[in-house]
């Protein structure tokens, strides 16, 4: 589902974010990506999302090579991926419902069908009663769960999460991880970037470790 082959990313000024990274994630797998901050975790996720392009090497998502994709293909590539951000990136100028419905509106779902799916997603993260609230008034943990609902509402093939538990206490972190596991169980490929080693150990999943831009461990 996700295949990196000798991928390097060099930013302007010569800074090498990742070097010669190769790994492959099968469909339906759940994998952690770990390493210190600055090790290149976010860069890997950005490359998968096509927010950035690799300087060398090749990346294939769902069997499709990313290199030849032009700006017209990028939206359709991104629609098969759901992303959870560390700072959740919710829009505070609209309600919880309108935040979650955004990916469905972008993909072109019918309004009635979209509303049904939004409620299903909210139900899954246990926040069905928060639909009409502004996300600003919710707690950090609830905001993160809204972010997750938004990432999975259009049932993406791949779920990416960048430090999803960064701002959460251990109990909330565990809840979030359980959610990811549930999505994984119904077939979604999940890749979580995190530096919370204790949590990762408890999850007992395959873990890729990055160190100064190089993949040093894959267990």
């Amino acid at each position: 589902m996700i295949a990196f082959e000798q991928v390097s990313k060099e930013y302007q000024g010569g800074y090498k974010a990742i070097q010669d990274v190769s790994f492959s994630i099968s469909p339906g797998e759940m994998v952690f990506l770990t390493g210190h901050s600055g090790a290149g975790k976010s860069t890997v996720l950005k490359l998968i999302m096509l927010m950035e392009r690799a300087s060398s090497g090749s990346i294939a998502i769902g069997g499709k090579n990313l290199a030849p994709m032009g700006s017209g293909d990028i939206p359709f590539h991104r629609r098969q991926i759901g992303v959870v951000f560390q700072n959740h990136q919710l829009l505070f100028d609209r309600s919880v419902f309108d935040n979650i419905v955004l990916p469905l509106r972008i993909c072109g779902y019918d309004a009635v069908d979209a509303a049904r799916r939004v409620r299903a997603a909210l139900d899954k993260v246990g926040l069905l009663d928060r639909e009409k609230l502004n996300p600003r008034v919710l707690s950090t943990g609830e905001q993160q769960r809204i972010g997750i609902a938004r990432a999975i509402v259009h049932k993406p093939k791949i779920l990416l999460a960048d430090e999803p538990t960064g701002n959460l206490d251990p109990q909330l972190s565990a809840e979030v991880m359980t959610l990811f596991q549930q999505f994984n169980r119904i077939g979604t490929t999940v890749l979580v970037a995190s530096h919370d080693l204790n949590l990762i150990r408890r999850m007992n999943c395959r873990t890729l470790t990055l160190q100064q831009g190089r993949l040093v461990d894959d267990v």
Partner: protein, 327 residues
């Protein structure tokens, strides 16, 4: 329409993805247009003063060149109604007696190269001048009629060169003090109008740029204020067309409303000017009436406003979207 292509193949594994039919996509496309239009309207109504001010500035910038073009069209129409381009006015020596003038005028009638001869003697000329110039008191105080007798002749041949040759011939006659080819000042006027037209075109281009900049800047601020929304939408797979749509609507709204306001400004100015112009043209025994932008002119103005708004929005949003392209 291509921006609502959903992934066509069911994944073999993984969560079940919704597949959109062509019909769904089309319906959604219209639905989104409707939503976006309503959203735009709501935004303008939420800041009516700022919106109105921008529209007025745009309207003035659009009205000025349109007004000048309308005026120019009116002047051109006025000069086009002067069909006596082949007219030569012969100003006779003032020391000629009435009978000498009349016999001269009759001799002119015999010439084959003239099709009409019209004698306006000095008395008649003075009367007309008194009537139309408003200087009757001053003229009354003169002891002697200062005006010469004038014979207007129409040449048979309207060619420029032959007219000039004829003018030379008539000028050489001993009774004639001056022979004026009316064509000359019409030519000068037309040349001046051409210069004026070019100046108006240059001014119009400048003002069109101003309209582009004003709308472009307004949209740029609009884009900046919705920056987060655009970033998030782009990450979720929004196409550039989807992101652009609301801003294009805003651009069109500004362009079209400003055009309508400009049209109102022009029509109202013309209504204000209509009566004085009518009086002036009556003084010249003409039934000249001002003509406004008209249907085609109005439509053109609307089209120009719409295109400028659309173009400005397109440029502004694309500048922002280009920054988001992966490098």
């Amino acid at each position: 329409m291509s921006d609502f292509r959903a992934s066509s193949a069911h994944p073999k594994r993984g969560a079940e993805q919704h597949v959109l039919t062509k019909q769904d996509q089309r319906r959604h496309w219209f639905q989104h247009h409707g939503e976006v239009a309503k959203d735009c309207l709501r935004q303008w109504l939420s800041a009516p003063t700022a919106t109105l001010m921008t529209i007025l500035v745009l309207a003035v910038a659009l009205a000025l060149p349109s007004f000048l073009f309308t005026s120019l069209a009116n002047i051109t129409r006025l000069t086009a109604s002067w069909d006596d381009e082949n007219k030569i006015s012969l100003y006779l020596h003032t020391d000629l007696s009435q009978s000498q003038i009349e016999s001269f005028s009759q001799r002119l009638l015999l010439r084959a190269d003239l099709i009409a001869v019209d004698l306006v003697d000095a008395e008649q000329g003075l009367l007309e001048f008194k009537q139309y110039s408003g200087f009757s008191d001053v003229l009354d105080s003169l002891q002697q009629n200062p005006l010469p007798a004038v014979i207007s002749v129409l040449a048979k041949d309207t060619g420029e060169q032959s007219l000039e040759k004829l003018q030379q011939q008539l000028y050489a006659l001993p009774q004639v003090e001056q022979a004026v080819l009316d064509l000359q000042w019409i030519k000068r006027l037309n040349a001046m109008l051409l210069v004026l037209q070019r100046a108006i075109i240059a001014l119009s281009l400048l003002l069109a740029c101003a309209v582009l900049l004003i709308i472009g800047n307004t949209i740029r601020l609009n884009v900046e204020s919705r920056r987060d929304e655009i970033l998030v939408a782009k990450l979720m797979g929004a196409t550039n067309a989807w992101v652009r749509r609301p801003f294009l609507y805003t651009g069109i709204f500004y362009g079209v409303t400003a055009s309508i306001a400009a049209w109102l400004i022009i029509e109202m100015s013309l209504i204000v000017m209509q009566n004085p112009v009518l009086q002036l043209s009556l003084l010249y025994q003409s039934n000249f009436k001002l003509i406004g932008l008209g249907g085609i002119g109005g439509l053109l103005l609307l089209l120009v406003g719409l295109s400028l708004g659309l173009l400005a929005a397109f440029i502004s949003v694309n500048k922002f979207l280009n920054q988001l392209e992966p490098k």
